[in-house]
Symmetry: C2
Subunit: 146 residues, 2 copies
DNA sequence: CTGACTGCAAATAGTTTGCATGACG
DNA sequence: CGTCATGCAAACTATTTGCAGTCAG
C-alpha cells in the first residue's frame, strides 16, 4: 500500500525532477516514520543523515513531493499547523493517536448515504470530504492506565 | 440552533468576562456571517462598526469566545490556516462551499459502525472525529454552468 | 555543460506578549 | 475604584523569496 523509496524515486525522475541527496534524505525520513511530522521535525531528522541540509530545502522538497502526490497534509483537531506524512495511493483517511502521534491510514469509509441526505437537504453538489479519527493507540492506553 | 447575540452575551457575563464594545463587535461579525472568516477578515469587518478596534483585540476576543465554546475552528482542505465561525451547541460538522465559502452545519453523522470496525482492527480507543464535506452550493453551481 | 537545486540571508505573514492606559461593572 | 481589557509596539514562529554558487544528468 505504501510507496517504496524506489517507487518514489522513479516517480520523481519520471516527472522531470532531479534526485538530490537532500530530497532523498527528506523522502527517507517521511517514509520511515509512522507519525505526522512538522517541517521542522523532518529537518531535524534529515540532518542526522545529511548534516548540511537547510530548512529551506526541506520546505522546497516537501512542496515537490506534495505536487507529486507522494505526501499529504494532516489536519489535527488542536492547533492548525500543517503536518505531513507519507501517503498511500488514492483516497484515504487517518486515525491519529493523541498520545504518541502514530497515524494509521484507512480507506473504507462509507459516507454515501450521508452524502445523499446532505445533497437533498441543501442542494450542494458534494465533491469531497475530510475525515479523521482521534483516539489512543494500544500502547498509549496502557500507559494511561498505569 | 444558533446562539443569539443575547445568549452569547449572557454566557460571557455568566463566566465572569466583561462585555466590551470590541467583543460585541467581534461577536456580531461572526454571528452575522455564514462564511468562515480569518481573524484578519473579522478585524476588517469589525472595524466598519468600531473603527478603533485593534487586530490584537480581535485575536484575544476570539480566544475568549473559543474558550466559552461560542465559536469553533475550521479545517479546510486547502491551506491550513485556522478559520472561525459561530457554533451551534454540541457535536457537529461542516459542509463548505468551495465557491463562496458558505458553511452549513449538520450533526447527523453516523460513524459508529466504522468506528467499531476501526477499533477492532487497530486496538485504538477512539475518542473523537473530524468530518467535513466540500462541494458547491446551489448558487455557485449555477454560476459554474453559466 | 547548463539549467535545476541548494543554502544563506533577508523578507513576509500570522500570531503572541509586555506594558501603560482606559473603562466595565 | 479595582480589575480586567485594550492598543500599541515589539517579539516570535512559520514560511517564502532573491540570489549567487553548485551539482545532477
Amino acid at each position: 500500500m505504501r510507496f517504496t523509496e524506489q517507487k518514489m524515486i522513479s516517480i520523481l525522475r519520471h516527472r522531470g525532477y532531479r534526485l538530490t541527496p537532500q530530497r532523498r534524505a527528506v523522502l527517507r525520513v517521511i517514509a520511515s516514520s509512522h507519525d505526522h511530522l512538522t517541517p521542522a521535525a523532518i529537518y531535524e531528522r534529515a540532518r542526522q543523515k545529511y548534516p548540511d541540509i537547510g530548512l529551506v530545502t526541506v520546505y522546497r522538497a516537501l512542496e515537490v513531493l506534495g505536487k507529486l502526490g507522494l505526501i499529504c497534509e494532516m489536519h489535527t483537531g488542536g492547533d492548525c499547523r500543517s503536518y505531513l506524512m507519507r501517503r498511500p495511493s488514492g483516497h484515504h483517511h487517518h486515525l491519529i493517536c493523541s498520545g504518541c502521534g502514530e497515524v494509521i491510514d484507512f480507506a473504507d469509509c462509507d459516507l454515501s448515504s450521508l452524502e445523499q441526505r446532505l445533497t437533498q437537504k441543501t442542494g450542494f453538489k458534494i465533491e469531497g470530504h475530510l475525515l479523521e479519527f482521534f483516539g489512543r493507540c494500544r500502547n498509549c492506553q496502557r500507559v494511561d492506565s498505569a
